[in-house]
Amino acid sequence: MSEPWRDLVRLVAQTRDDEGAGCECCHENLAEFAERELQGLSRCETLMRIAAHLQDCPCCQDEYQRLTTALKAVWCPPGS
């Protein structure tokens, strides 16, 4: 099975009834979301919606993964 079809079927299967947060809302809250996730802190309602959006949107998921990597380097630089 080609990867795009597998990914598409999985995305379709995971589609929720509600639309959830959009990409712009995700952008506005991603720094807070990533920071709290790295610290293991709880999520407010908005951040719960961001978590759901990240499962839905590969682009935002990519941004989130890279942001957590970047923040680790910013807060804990190698050799510190």
Binding site: W5, V12, T15, G22, C23, R66
Partner: protein, 230 residues
């Protein structure tokens, strides 16, 4: 650097006081975030020092986030320069819900990621996204599955998906799905389809809902599909 020192890009009149934003800044829970904003709203020298410090932080974050992506030093530098200008322009929108460096890093990351995505996909012609004989309609599952039963079930699902896409989606939705199947990131795809990214997200969400409902009517439920296509 000269651009960054121009008053045109600075959100206040360049005094050391945070001007009309004093109340907002005072509400920021993080003392470090307050100081960053005050320095960036501050006088020329103070602002220049803050920008240089921020430049170094952003570069460190971007280099880590894009390690292995073959990004040139010039591109890193350009992205940071663009990001610093965006950060100054949008300083009013920083609410202090995260550390300032985290907020700034998220802007820099998006700036570079967007640039890389546009470069990577700029040669894919828009026509390929609207040609009904390419993308969705021509994509076929491979033949590498070891279990004939599983392979057959997957092919049946994809065949149903093809039909649902052809019969139940609008042309706009089909174009967006072709882009997704071609692996085009949503910000690039939105630009190609002349949509805001939020509008593309909604368009795709509606399309996915139709496909999910159609699959359910054919007896394919979400959990079974996830298990089959894990």
């Amino acid at each position: 650097m000269s651009d960054l020192e121009s008053n045109e890009l600075v959100p206040t009149t360049g005094t050391t006081e945070p001007s009309g934003d004093a109340a907002r800044i005072a509400e920021m829970a993080d003392e470090s975030a307050r100081k960053w904003v005050q320095r960036l709203y501050g006088g020329r020298n103070e602002r220049a020092k803050a920008l240089e410090e921020l430049r170094s932080i952003l570069l460190r974050g971007l280099r880590a986030a894009f390690a292995g992506d073959n990004v040139s030093d010039d591109l890193f530098e350009d992205a940071v320069q663009d990001s610093l200008m965006k950060i100054l322009r949008n300083l009013d929108s920083f609410e202090g819900r995260s550390r300032f460096e985290s907020w700034a890093t998220s802007i820099a990351l998006r700036t570079l990621l967007s640039e890389l995505r546009h470069r990577r996909y700029q040669d894919i012609p828009l026509a390929s996204l609207s040609d009904p004989n390419r993308g969705v309609s021509s994509a076929q599952p491979d033949r590498s599955e070891t279990s004939p039963d599983v392979q057959m079930m997957k092919q049946q699902v994809v065949a149903v998906m093809h039909r649902l896409i052809d019969e139940h989606l609008s042309e706009h939705q089909r174009s967006a799905l072709r882009g997704v199947l071609a692996g085009i990131p949503s910000d690039v795809l939105a630009n190609r389809l002349h949509l805001q990214r939020n509008a593309l997200y909604k368009l795709l969400h509606d399309a996915r809902q139709k496909l999910k409902q159609g699959l359910a009517q054919e007896g394919y439920e979400g959990a079974d599909l996830l298990s089959l296509f894990e």
